[in-house]
Amino acid sequence: MNGRLTLLTAGRVLRQIRGDHRTVALMLVVPCVLIGLLAWIYASTPAVFDHIGPALLGVFPFVVMFVVTSVATLRERTSGTLERLLSTPLGKGDFMAGYALAFGAMAVLQALVATAFAVWVCGLDVAGPVWLLVVVAVADAVLGTALGLLASGFARTEFQAVQFMPAFVLPQFLLCGLLVARDAMPDLLRWVSDVLPLSYAVDAMKTITASSDALGDVGKDLVVIVGWIVLALVLGSLTLRRRTP
């Protein structure tokens, strides 16, 4: 790994995103629209919105970054740019970290916009510090990027890459405790949900909204999420091969 090459790659990825105004708009606007819709659905029961809203603030960046990253990486493979890059001094780690850094930066922007919209426009009640919501959202986004990089290693076409979204994301969504509390699930499913990273993301978001003294618990959740990020990046870099058949 080389810090200069990582930064160069992150800068290049950001430049590509910046040129694509529609993607930037979708990244920033879609979460706001969905949160607004949710607030409207639960207009008569704001307590339910306060319960679900923060969890979704953790899920959106994860899903969006997963899809964007897996498609972007697959494009690098099919267009030959990855083959070319790996014949240069750029390392696999620089490539992975560059993407994680670039989409992490996009996530900061997305989290700031979505959280501000939820709190100030939709009146989401947050007992804990709002900045902590942003931190967890960014961690979720980087998690999405890392898993997206990993998933794209198993996709041959863009169709497959997009199909990986429901395959990787929906089970985590069903098991993360948003639909049914994790304690109320059958044992086996609860154990599975104890392993999956999105459960910790949603737990962290819930803790922040419910308690004003959230830092300790959220810190533990963040450690698990960061562990998954590192694991996914390491496994993902194993799917990048300099030599191909």
Binding site: Q16, T81, P89, P245
Partner: protein
């Protein structure tokens, strides 16, 4: 044996792709400071050979030594420039952003970035996104991204495909100038009249070299007026030996 006067030394290379043997047993030496043409019919294994040289091809056996080091060694990564057959640049970035990114990865200065854009004659389109360029401009953008690193060995897979005669001539002039400055070049092509622009020729068919010669010698040996006829004569001769069961396909 490591010999400084060879840019590439290949010994008993064997490569299989998709369960089929593409290169069975190939040995060749490519001198430094020359433009070497890699010519041959489609599917003959040119790209596979090139991929083995730059170290992105899984090889079954044999050794490939490039600039005195095993192909693909970390030390070679800024000394060897590689242009893939289909242009590999970021379509959603401008020409300049592409060249700058690959240039910086290779440790090139800004002056080299601008020079590379001028060399491929894309100054007027430097700020255009690559996806808005013509096919030939697109492949020249890809070429600039390799030139920018000023490599000692430049490996180009069909860089002149789809270019008009004027641009082709300009590019071959450029290759000649680079060789005169000491760069070694290996350039694959379908266009036989480009053979006359090379210092040496490798004619490849079915993963083996039918000839490893100079343009003048090729014409002399085959008694033909131009490279295209010479090449066809060589292929016909090779196919006749294969048919008569004399065991063709071995390297010349």
């Amino acid at each position: 044996m490591v010999n400084k006067s060879y840019a590439v030394e290949v010994d008993q290379l064997r490569v299989s792709r998709g369960g089929r043997v593409v290169i069975a047993d190939l040995s060749v030496r490519i001198p430094t400071g020359q433009v070497v043409g890699l010519l041959g019919p489609s599917g003959g294994g040119k790209s596979t050979f090139i991929r083995a040289l730059v170290g992105v091809q899984v090889v079954e056996s044999g050794t490939v030594t490039v600039l005195g080091q095993p192909a693909g060694s970390p030390d070679l990564r800024h000394r060897v420039g590689y242009v893939t057959q289909s242009p590999s640049v970021y379509a959603d970035l401008s020409v300049e952003d592409n060249v700058r990114y690959f240039g910086r990865v290779l440790g090139a200065a800004e002056a080299a970035v601008q020079e590379a854009i001028d060399l491929v004659d894309l100054r007027a389109h430097a700020h255009d996104r690559v996806e808005n360029l013509s096919g030939g401009q697109h492949s020249r953008a890809s070429l600039a991204c390799a030139l920018v690193g000023r490599p000692e060995l430049l490996v180009l897979d069909e860089p002149t495909v789809g270019l008009d005669p004027v641009l082709r001539r300009d590019l071959w002039d450029l290759f000649g100038r680079l060789a005169a400055e000491g760069t070694s070049l290996l350039v694959s092509s379908h266009v036989m009249d480009e053979a006359t622009r090379c210092d040496r020729l490798l004619l490849m068919r079915s993963g083996a070299f039918l000839a490893d010669t100079t343009p003048a010698q090729l014409l002399l040996e085959t008694g033909t007026p131009d490279a295209e006829t010479a090449f066809l004569a060589l292929i016909d001769r090779a196919e006749a030996t294969t048919r008569s069961g004399a065991g063709g396909g071995s390297a010349a």
